[in-house]
Each structure stands twice: as C-alpha cells, then as structure tokens.
C-alpha cells in the first residue's frame, strides 16, 4: 500500500486488574475508510476506542498514526492529531445553540479593548459552511439544541466532531436511539464524511446499519479479534456467528 494507514493499532493489550480486556488486538483504518467495530457487550469495543482516543493507556502494543508511532497521554493528544469521538450521549450542551456547540472550547474571538469577545458572525458563517458541506438540515442554527430532534442532535454532534480538520471520527452507537428515517440520514452523513477523506470507526449494535455503510467490519469477541469481514457481500449471520461464537 502506498499510503500509510490512517491509524494502525498493533498487538494492543489492556488489563484491568486480573481482567484481560484486550488481548493483542490488531486494528487499522485506512484514509477515507469506514470500519464497523462490533461485538457483544464487554467484548472490548469501547476499551479499544478509549485507548485510541487517549483516555486509557495500553499495557502492551503500539499505535501508529499516518506512519508515525504515537503515544497518547490524554484525549487532548489524540484530538490534536485529528482523532475525534462522538459519544453515545452526544456530549452536547443542550441549553446552547448549534453554533455554540460546534465551537465549544474552541470559540472564535476578536479583541475589543481588554476583552476577548466571541466572534459570533464569524462562528455562524463557518458553522453554516460546515453544515452545508455535510448537507445537514436544521431548522435554525440559533435554536437551543434541546429543541432539535434526535437525528438533528446526532448530526450536530457529528458536525462538531468534524468541524476542525478531523481525520478520524469514532462514533459510538450513532443510530441506536433513532427512528429508521433519521438513522438513514446519519448513515448518509457517514458516507459523505468518507467521500471527504475522513476515516470513520462506527461502533454499533445495529448490524444492518454497519453492513450498509462500512467498508470493513471488525468483530471483537472477549477481548480478541474474532475476524475482519468486508462490508459488502457479508451476510448478517456471518457477523453474528463471530460475535457470539467461541474463539477458534
């Protein structure tokens, strides 16, 4: 392969006391690739992703980002490289509007005398551009997020994760709480990110969603990789078999 993998995790091991959460797991994502990450509860999906975002440090193994070995001491380190996470609870301040949420913690400001004030017009302009680029439809950018629908909130959370030159976005159950039509829009959004060269890791229990959008599906089973399947042409039953099966 000419281009290095966007992210490559090699032989990742993680223990919590006597419990082995991950046992030499290999996991990679190519640029502009959507990888589904599936497995039963406790299979190690979120532990693996918390290692990738720097929340946990692995007990063994290496992480390579675009051909360079990296070490993450905190989530800030991974975010600096362009690795973003969309949490299942979305992590939005529901009392604030879309613009405020997109820029939360990274507000654009301008100096006015001694004060560093929010540059609302600039933020709104950039938010509008970004949302249009993702073709996200919202009734208004200035409506408190709590007034938006579940799918719209999910879109805001994804837009927030991708607003600042993200290279890899990890999404934790983005469609779990959505009606079918809204889930379809989120999958559409994932495809659009892929076409923009953004890599996506999709953690989901809704296997039909994963198979619909993922280029590859990695299956974890009790802390090990049970298999990696192509997204196209794989049957649901094959994935389920790996998820619930005993290890070969």
């Amino acid at each position: 392969m000419s281009e290095p993998a966007r992210v490559e995790m090699r032989g990742i091991t993680k223990r919590f006391g006597p419990v082995v959460a991950l046992q030499s797991v290999d996991f990679s994502v190519q640029p502009g690739e959507v990888v589904g990450l599936v497995g039963d509860n406790g299979a190690g999906k979120s532990t693996l992703m918390k290692i990738l975002t720097g929340v946990y440090r692995p007990d063994g193994g290496e992480i390579w980002f675009e051909g360079r070995r990296v070490h993450f001491a905190s989530p800030l380190d991974s975010r600096r490289l362009g690795i973003e996470m969309v949490y299942q609870d979305l992590g939005l301040a529901e009392n604030l509007d879309t613009v405020a949420n997109l820029f939360l913690g990274r507000e654009l400001t301008r100096r006015v005398g001694l004060w560093r004030l929010l540059d609302e017009p600039a933020m709104e302009r950039r938010a509008l551009e970004h949302l249009e680029g993702l073709r996200v439809e919202l009734p208004s950018l200035r409506l408190a997020v709590e007034r938006l629908s579940g799918g719209q909130r999910q879109a805001v959370a994804i837009a927030r994760a991708t607003a600042f030159a993200a290279k890899l976005v990890i999404m934790d159950e983005p469609t779990a709480s959505l009606a079918v039509a809204e889930a379809g829009k989120v999958l559409e959004l994932i495809r659009r990110l892929r076409s923009q060269g953004v890599s996506v890791v999709l953690i989901s229990h809704r296997l039909q969603d994963v198979l619909e959008v993922a280029d590859r599906v990695a299956v974890l089973n009790r802390g090990r990789v049970a298999g990696v399947l192509p997204g196209h042409g794989t049957r649901l039953e094959d994935v389920v078999a790996l998820i619930v099966g005993g290890l070969a």
Partner: protein, 340 residues
C-alpha cells in the same frame, strides 16, 4: 441547508435571539406595571426623587449579591454563604478603618477577603469533592458568621471612611442646572456598571459561554476540554468578591458594620435570581433578568412600606412572587415544548 432568510442576512442576530429578548420583556413589564400602580396609589410619595433614590440605594447590595449568585446558579450551583461573607467583609472593612488603614486599602482588604472566602468555597467543592455546593457553602455560612461575631465582639462598629460612605449613600447629580437634572445614587451606578460587565462576561466571552455549557451539561464541557474544576473555583471566587462589594455598599449606606448584617441575605439574592428567570438546574439565566428581579423585590418592599404594610406581610408577598415567577416560567417552557 434550510436557514431562514433573515438569519442569512444578519448573522448573529437571528429571530430566535429577538424572540428570546422579547420573552424577557415580561419582567420589564412587571417593573413598569409596579411603578404605575405605586404612582397611582401613592402619587405624592412614590415618584419623588427622595423615594426613588432611596429604592435604588436599598436594592444595591442585594442586586450585587444576586449577580454573584447568578454566576453560581448558571453552573447549576448555589452559594448559601454570600450573606455571611458580606457581613464578614463589612466587619473587616470597619476594623481596618478603625485601625487607621487608608480608605482604599481597607476597601481592597474587604473585597479581597470576599474573593478568598469564595475561592475557598470553590476549592472545597472541587478538591474535597463535597457532593453538592449546598454543603460547602452552608459550612462557610456558619464559619463566616461566627468569625464576624468573634471579630466584632458582637457589637456594631460605626464610623467608616468618607469614601466608603460616599460609595454607599451619596448621590451623583447628572446634568445639574438643566431641566434634565437627575440624582443617581453612586451605589446604583456601581450596580449598573457591575451588571453591564456581568452581562458582557456571560454572553460575549468564551469563559461565560463555558459556564452555561458547564451548567447545561457538565460532561459536554469536559468533552470540549473545558477545565470544569477551574471554572467552578473562578465562579465561587467571583461570587465571594461580589459579596465583598455588596458589603462595602451596605456598610457605606448605614455607616456601620453590624454583626447581624446580611443574615438571610443569601435567600434574598436567590429570590432575585429566581424571579429574574434563571434556572436552578443550571445553564439558564441572564444578568438583565436578575437585575430586574432585584428591582422587582425592591419596588415591592418600597411599595408595601409606603402603604404601611408590615414587614411580615412583605415577606409573605416576596414568597408568593417567587412562586408566581417560577410558575410562569414553567408554563412558558411547557408552551415552548408543544411548538414543533
């Protein structure tokens, strides 16, 4: 992307913001209505310069306390200690003056003490991981009140510096000699200055926005890389600082530091914050609203005084107003949720 045309034309203004501003008008209407009623009922007393400047002076310290309380309430917290801290700062101010400190130094000492006690509240909350700000600030309420009695020996200390008395009780004559001549209490100008600063801080700075985020969803603030613990210490320190300022204004008005000063004042400040439309769940509330909340309380007290209604009834009315204000808010929120 479907966005309303008006918003495209004027980014940052937006209909929703206009609507939000209009929704806040109801408090202003209440203020105007109260003034109209009081003018009608007490035509020879209410609209006089003496009475109006009196009201403005009287609400000053509660308004300043309420501004600090608002900062804390926005983060979904509460500061029960502000009344005691105000009393303590007054006593320190008086003692420093008695000890011959220059006016500015004793003033700075009082305000700095407020800031320090406030920061201690914030640290107790974030470092000792006390489960709720109620507890840390309840402890401080008692400690500060006890310290006030100990330091003052339980007796009022009178005789403050002319500067402090000027701040608390003097009037500034605007446009003297013209028909527009108005007297405005210095303390009320301090209040207005602080509220304008507070409004800019809350609505126009990144830090202010982070406070709303923290109050709305602490986890979202954390995900966004906001140092939530540092924010909380800042907020309680600011609240304590404002309690110090409120103490200076009150001491200057009555020319005395009495050890019982500020007993129950925390509840008045909380009442102003609630009447002003802030949410106790955090993330909601504005400086403008709380200012009007403090004005409403002041007008109510003044009006009932003018009509010779006993202070006991005043308390009953304040209680009913709190109930009414929150109920109106509940109704409005319910109506908003029915909307698509």
């Amino acid at each position: 992307m479907r966005v309303e045309a008006a918003e495209r034309a004027a980014p940052g203004v937006g209909w929703d913001r206009l609507r939000a501003a209009l929704a806040r008008m109801d408090l202003l209407l209440v203020v105007l209505l109260m003034m109209a009623v009081l003018t009608a009922l007490q035509p020879q007393f209410f609209l006089t310069r003496e009475n109006l400047t009196n009201v403005a002076r009287q609400i000053a310290s509660n308004a300043v306390l309420a501004l600090g309380q608002l900062l804390v309430v926005v983060t979904a917290g509460i500061d029960l200690s502000v009344g005691s801290v105000m009393g303590l700062c007054m006593t320190i101010l008086a003692l420093a003056t008695k000890a011959g400190w220059p006016a500015l130094a004793s003033l700075a000492a009082a305000v700095a003490l407020g800031a320090a006690v406030g920061a201690a509240n914030g640290l107790a909350l974030t470092r000792l991981h006390l489960p709720h700000p109620f507890i840390a600030t309840l402890a401080t309420l008692n400690v500060a009140r006890g310290a006030t009695y100990l330091l003052s020996g339980g007796v009022p200390i009178s005789g403050l510096s002319p500067e402090v008395r000027w701040l608390g009780s003097a009037d500034l004559l605007l446009f003297p000699g013209t028909p527009l001549e108005t007297a405005i209490p210095v303390s009320f100008l301090v209040v207005i200055g602080l509220y304008l600063t507070g409004a800019v801080f809350l609505r126009r700075t990144p830090t202010g926005r982070h406070l709303y985020a923290l109050g709305g969803n602490p986890r979202a603030a954390q995900y966004a890389g906001i140092h939530t613990a540092r924010m909380l210490v800042l907020v309680y320190a600011l609240c304590g600082t404002l309690a110090g300022v409120a103490g200076v204004l009150l001491a200057g008005r009555v020319n005395s530091a009495y050890p019982t000063a500020g007993i129950g004042a925390e509840l008045d400040s909380i009442a102003a914050v609630i009447i002003g439309g802030a949410s106790f769940f955090g993330g909601r509330g504005s400086a403008g609203g709380v200012f009007l909340g403090a004005v409403i309380m002041g007008l109510l007290r003044n009006g009932l005084n003018l009509m010779n209604v006993s202070v006991f009834w005043q308390q009953v009315f304040i209680g009913l107003i709190i109930l009414l204000a929150v109920y109106v808010d509940v109704l409005r929120r319910r109506a908003a949720q029915v909307e698509p």
